[in-house]
């Protein structure tokens, strides 16, 4: 059981619009795997097919080396869907117990574990409140608890960080990392590359339903690399813009204003660029030779035109046509 999730040439169409197109990926056990892509790339549809909510039109999904879908393994899988939702009128503790029961956990142990997790995420005082009385962030934490309460071997998180403040984001990240430390597998989707870069062992970037690249973070960076330089300015940029525009020195640039990420042109040298910048009168506070950031790779691969979903008239509001 080295690969809990294997997606093999899976295609899913919605009334003529192809949400996922012959996608293959495999998630090795004990890793944090990131499914990355712009909005509308087919991330949610892929995860839903893994979870057995949608049936693929063609191709197969194998979970834990069987062809049985996610529902058959629901005891071993935790799922946080993109559209968050809990029963607004139920008490927090009751919701958690109920959802754990639907995953086959007994009432008693569900109760114990729910209390444990509520304590751990600082929600103990809210356990007897109605869900509707909680803030959005708190509701999201409750939902996260519901995904991992039954201690599954595999957790599938669809955009887990959206809507969380930095503090809660950190709590969630710690929990995910801790989860991996205990030998569990985490598959999560995001379009925010900073999260992916900090968390992923392996990743897969998709756009318009197709895979663009996958592998470990290091592999992706190596194969999609080129030499990179990160420059930060301290006030005056001097003649920097002119140098950035010089295709003999700089192949590509991501300009963030006070900071820029440069891909060095073939044959050029980082020292040359630094010298040119200093000579142009720019005040430099930071100059670093770096591997490209995931963000840079992502933007390069996906491109500005593919960063938005292909609009298909009349189907935009459908579930599943989304990310």
């Amino acid at each position: 059981m080295s690969e809990p999730v294997v997606v093999d040439h899976v295609t899913k169409k919605f009334a003529g619009h192809t949400a996922v197109d012959a996608l293959s990926l495999s998630v090795p056990a004990g890793m944090i795997y990131g499914l990355l892509g712009p909005n509308g790339a087919g991330k949610t549809t892929t995860l839903r097919m893994i979870m057995d909510i949608y049936e693929p039109d063609s191709g197969t999904v194998r979970l834990f080396d069987t062809v049985a879908g996610g529902r058959a393994h629901s005891e071993r899988i935790g799922y946080l869907p993109e559209d968050r939702g809990l029963y607004p009128k139920m008490r927090v503790l009751d919701v958690l117990i109920f959802l754990a029961e639907t995953k086959g956990v007994s009432r008693r142990s569900a109760r114990e574990k729910a209390l444990e997790w509520l304590e751990r995420l600082g929600l103990t005082d809210w356990r007897l409140r109605k869900v509707s009385e909680l803030s959005k962030g708190m509701q999201q934490k409750v939902q996260f608890i519901s995904a991992i309460l039954h201690d599954p071997e595999l957790v599938i998180l669809d955009e887990p960080f959206s809507g969380l403040d930095p503090v809660n984001s950190q709590v969630l990240r710690d929990t995910v990392i801790d989860y991996r430390r205990r030998g569990k597998t985490v598959l999560f989707s995001t379009h925010i590359m900073e999260h992916a870069e900090k968390l992923c062992d392996r990743l897969c970037i998709i756009a318009r339903g197709k895979k663009l690249i996958d592998g470990t973070l290091a592999e992706v960076k190596r194969t999609h690399g080129g030499k990179h330089v990160i420059v930060a300015f301290d006030g005056s940029q001097g003649g920097a813009q002119q140098i950035f525009g010089d295709r003999r020195l700089v192949a590509k640039i991501q300009d963030f204003g006070q900071q820029a990420e440069l891909e060095i042109a073939p044959g050029a040298d980082a020292q040359e660029i630094l010298k040119a910048l200093v000579n142009s009168g720019a005040r430099i506070s930071h100059f670093e030779l770096a591997s490209p950031s995931l963000h840079k790779i992502f933007v390069d691969l996906v491109g500005p035109e593919a960063a938005t979903a292909a609009a298909v008239p009349g189907h935009a509001e459908r579930v599943g046509a989304g990310a």
């Binding site: 839903r48 979870m51 057995d52 909510i53 949608y54 996610g70 529902r71 629901s74 899988i77 799922y79 869907p81 559209d83 968050r84 939702g85 809990l86 029963y87 607004p88 009128k89 139920m90 009751d94 109920f98 959802l99 029961e101 639907t102 995953k103 086959g104 519901s146 509001e317 459908r318 579930v319 599943g320």
Partner: protein
């Protein structure tokens, strides 16, 4: 199975926890107690009506009317000769509640049979009593006019026919009156209609809640949509059974307490004993519960599908209309059913699955249905449930994950076929 059980349990517990449940649980017995108290108050009576008889006849007919009403327990009559402003002043007295009403008799009564009664409250009992007295008098006067001996007329009118009513139901003669079995059938039909509609709509809103909060996505990742639907329907059904149980037990309790209640109200025990209760045989209760359960399953499956295909309350309210109309057919046929439970119309309704949950118990209660027919009706209904649930489950399966605009008829057909 453990998972379905969890869904049933949640549905039951959360519903029973609502205020709405307890309000209706308490409202039933309160209403029932009200009926008992009302009946006791009625039998204590005291409700003697004061009326005036305005006499404009030339023959002093009014005096005879007052005499004839003298034997009445509910009417106390006084004769007043007709005058220019009598009607106005009597009307004022009625308005001031000093007088219950007044009867106007004129010479025309003898020829046309017409008299007039004006009152603030036209109670059926008073009117029947007045009509009976006037009838007797008019017959007597008219016979006397043609020279018949008054003594003979009195003798002839002294006999009243009473009709001893016996009902033949499935080979047994019972002493249940036609009125009683009519009332029982009617009450049952209304109860069935209300319960199926209310709890069916409950299933719908519960499905809709799961859909709009999107929690359904988590649920269908661990349960099959059909299991989820089954759990919801069973949970809501259990709540309605619980509700009926509360009503039944409290009604039973109130009836056994009717003598103490009567004493508290200052009436004697006989007043309480006089409260008429139709005898409800066990078979009737069983038929009622069986058809309620079956009808509920049939309709709540449809309501679940309606909830699944809608994405908000307004849409659901619109989409539920066809289902409600289907149920309304049987509701609107109740009068026809109870009036003639063995007509072809009634027989047809008790065979069609959509109307039989109400029509069959009504016909059974009215005693116009054999066991064979009952079994056929139930079998048809069960087939109907399987077919409807199959279609509903397929709509439900696709619908719960859809958002956006409501599906068209064509799309629905595609969902069912898929």
């Amino acid at each position: 199975m453990h998972k379905v059980w969890a869904v049933i349990r949640r549905e039951f517990v959360e519903r029973v926890r609502t205020k709405w449940f307890w309000v209706s649980a308490i409202l039933g017995p309160v209403l029932f107690a009200g009926i008992i108290i009302f009946q006791i108050m009625q039998s204590i009576g005291g409700a003697v009506r004061d009326i005036a008889v305005v006499d404009s006849t030339s023959s002093d007919f009014g005096t005879q009317v007052v005499e004839a009403l003298g034997t009445s327990k509910v009417i106390r009559a006084t004769k007043i000769p007709a005058g220019p402003h009598v009607i106005d002043s009597l009307t004022r007295l009625v308005e001031q509640k000093e007088l219950n009403g007044f009867l106007i008799v004129s010479d025309a009564l003898k020829e046309s049979g017409k008299a007039e009664y004006r009152a603030s409250n036209l109670s059926l009992q008073t009117i029947e009593e007045l009509q009976r007295a006037l009838n007797r008098l008019i017959v007597k006067v008219r016979l006397e006019e043609r020279g018949v001996n008054p003594a003979v007329v009195d003798w002839a009118q002294n006999l009243r026919v009473t009709l001893d009513q016996k009902k033949i139901a499935r080979g047994h003669v019972t002493s249940e009156s036609a009125g009683q079995s009519f009332a029982l059938a009617y009450v049952m039909a209304i109860l069935l209609f209300m319960a199926i509609l209310l709890y069916g709509v409950n299933v719908m809103s519960s499905v809709l809640e799961e859909k709009t909060t999107r929690i359904v996505e988590v649920l269908v990742s661990s349960l099959k949509p059909f299991q989820l639907m089954l759990g919801k329907v069973a949970g809501a059904g259990a709540v309605s059974f619980f509700q009926f149980l509360i009503w039944g037990v409290s009604a039973r309790l109130l009836i056994s307490l009717r003598v103490p209640i009567a004493r508290m109200l200052g009436a004697d025990a006989s007043a309480a004993q006089s409260i008429q209760l139709p005898h409800i045989p066990f078979a009737t209760v069983a038929v009622f519960m069986a058809f309620f359960l079956a009808g509920f399953l049939l309709y709540s499956a449809m309501f679940a599908a309606v909830g699944a295909m809608s994405s908000n309350e307004q849409e659901a309210r619109q989409a539920q209309q066809p289902v409600t109309y289907l149920l309304m057919i049987s509701y609107l046929s109740i009068i026809g059913l109870t009036n003639d439970p063995s007509s072809t119309f009634a027989k047809t309704l008790s065979l069609v699955p959509f109307t039989s949950p109400i029509a069959t118990p009504v016909r059974w209660t009215a005693g116009s249905m054999g066991t064979g027919e009952l079994v056929t009706s139930l079998a048809m209904l069960l087939i109907g449930i399987v077919a409807v649930t199959w279609v509903a489950a397929r709509i439900y399966r696709v619908g719960i994950l859809m958002t956006g605009k409501r599906p068209t008829m064509k799309e629905l057909v595609r969902w069912v076929r898929a």
